[in-house]
Assembly symmetry: C2
Homo-oligomer: 384 residues x 2
């Protein structure tokens, strides 16, 4: 067995370079240099929870332009286990992906377990969603797991408070999250892998700023915004960003976790966010939903039965170049795997293309106009 190759990489240090700022908004262009390569920001990370971007091969994800994908520490810890992945040479080798990987800490997943988990100072005890077995994750173990996986970007264990929460709960939770973040920093043994802290604080501006103050005083490689897109609505989320990002360090990458729709991403970039991940393009694909330049379409609708058009007439992806809505509707209704493949491919292409357009607009210093036009376009529209 080949063990995780710590090889000649121990001298490497992750870095972030700010290439430029937009004139009229807080949008930024940057490049994040990680152990497995560079990531141009703003960037969207396709979600590969269980060591696969669902329905895609790694080559397809690359061809779509993704420079980084996301894995999930909680899920991989339970199945197949970080020890096994480590023995087999690490997550990159295991899944045949040679570009950067960010691993979510699992805090959010544990939070989703609701009454099957208990949060204490030392860490969080929970029952597996798979077999009910008991486990305890501590900040130190979560770093250890991610180092074993060989993640280019590791996330600290945090508590993601439910929305809404009382001020008292939020404050207590935040203090714990921040103590955990510092324990994570101390636990790290592989400085060639980036470690990001997570800023919590719910919709409470004062707490968000407290988190920024407390965490940015320490040498994290980047800062994530957690606890957003948890049901608060886009308006509240953007207000929280408005209040928070201006106080975050300019020379560190900013990652808005689990967000979002194309509109969420366009708006968050205008507020200075650099990185995104979201299951929408992949999960909605498996539910038959296309993101298109004309808004979203649910392919199951009877109106597409005889529709010879491609899903998106303005799209150049493999799916739109070769298949009609009528055919994909047929595949979807018959439960064919090819439906999931074709729609996922298109949706990820749509997201990567959006991010590429965003980067161009920011580079040109014309992001205000881009946002304005986007807000008026059918791309923000409702599902057909």
């Amino acid at each position: 067995m080949t063990d995780t190759d710590f090889g000649d990489n121990t001298e490497f240090r992750p870095s972030f370079e700010l290439l430029g700022k937009d004139r009229g908004t807080a949008a930024r262009r940057g490049v994040l240099t990680l152990l497995h390569g560079d990531v141009q920001t703003p960037a969207f990370m396709p979600v590969g929870t269980l060591a696969t971007v669902k329905a895609m091969t790694p080559e397809e994800v690359k061809e779509l332009g993704a420079e980084i994908i996301l894995g999930n520490t909680y899920h991989l810890y339970l199945r197949p286990g970080h020890e096994l992945i480590g023995e087999l040479g690490g997550l990159h080798k295991f899944m045949n992906w040679d570009r950067p990987i960010l691993t979510d800490s699992g805090g959010y997943q544990v939070y989703s377990l609701a009454d099957r988990r208990k949060i204490e100072e030392e860490g969080v005890t929970f029952q597996s969603h798979l077999d009910g077995s008991r486990h305890k994750l501590t900040p130190e173990l979560v770093v250890e797991i991610q180092e074993r996986l060989g993640s280019d970007v590791m996330m600290v264990l945090d508590e993601c408070p439910p929305h809404p929460s009382t001020r008292e709960y939020l404050e207590k939770s935040l203090a714990l999250t921040n103590r955990w973040a510092l324990r994570s920093l101390r636990a790290r043994t592989r400085p060639e892998l980036a470690l990001f802290a997570i800023i919590q604080g719910g919709m409470d501006t004062e707490l968000r700023l407290r988190a920024v103050r407390e965490l940015t005083a320490h040498p994290f490689d980047g800062f994530a915004l957690g606890g957003l897109s948890v049901g608060e609505g886009q308006k509240a989320m953007l207000e929280t960003l408005d209040a928070t990002t201006p106080h975050m360090p300019e020379l560190k990458p900013r990652y808005l976790m689990g967000v979002g729709t194309p509109s969420d991403i366009v708006e968050a970039v205008a507020r200075g966010v650099d990185m995104f991940d979201c299951v929408l393009p992949t999960r909605n694909a498996r539910n038959g939903m296309f993101f298109t330049s004309q808004g979203n379409i649910a392919i199951k609708h009877a109106s597409f039965t005889r529709d010879e058009d491609p899903p998106d007439r303005q799209c150049s992806c493999y799916t739109c170049s070769n298949y009609s809505r009528a055919y994909i509707r047929h595949l979807y209704k018959a439960g064919e795997i090819l439906a999931s493949r074709l729609i996922t491919l298109h949706n990820l292409h749509h997201y990567q293309r959006l991010l590429s357009r965003i980067r161009e607009a920011v580079e040109a210093g014309e992001y205000s106009r881009f946002v304005e036009e986007f807000r008026k376009s059918p791309e923000t529209g409702k599902t057909t």
Copy 2:
């Protein structure tokens, strides 16, 4: 809407050329020239029941070396409907496959409906397995459907008698099947599409030969052997082939329907069969089973948990070049679509590679030795 393009193809006539015969067996090398291209025989046709070879894109199926695939008339008639496919330009355009397609008539599927179908002189009345709606398929309608789909090879409607059946039943059923075959021939309006008759007769040699006599007197483009691989076992199937194929016309292609395992194919080729189709490589893939040079492996087994080897060390396919058994086992157990993709890809590669080896051995006139070696090899082996 573009209608099925009957275009400039009306002058085309399908043909079969016998390129050579093996010295020690009845194996043959041939080439079947169809409207959408040539098919080197012996050939294996991946099954694409519902206008998709499950989990694959057409490009992948091509790259694996398939020169023809199979669709299913009964299934496509019910969903999405031959009228719709015709309106959209025919089956090839609908599914983005530009090589030949053979469509199974649906006789076997209707036979599987058991008590939900009634067979009469005119045709078969049945209830849809999807919504219970009532339908009647006649030999004429089945040809019409396939002409509308634009199948390169159309199959006549037949009755596939259950195994075992009484001699009386078999005889009556065979007479009906043969009358239906002649009605199909008369109903054809597109001679550029091949029409194959189906030889039935159960395990009764006399009836099989009667079918051969009655059907080969008419200008069908090829002859299929139906009603085999229905539970009679390999021995009985091969005995039936031994008794039948020597009496079939040498200059027409012979197609053994729904067969089979690698061993079935190797043995049937030795008895003069040219064409095969089977769901095994694709269906078993979705159930986690690899066909390999060392026999079959069920990837879910715990013994593969930490197995760094590719599924088949002797295989050069994409799956075996890039992934470990441990990774694919993980994907399979997690229910990931990529597991179905990777295993299907390998299994179809394994089948196409087998047929390619078979063709080479027949060309070299050394098929006896090939069969002998195959019988001793682990390829014929049981599932690990």
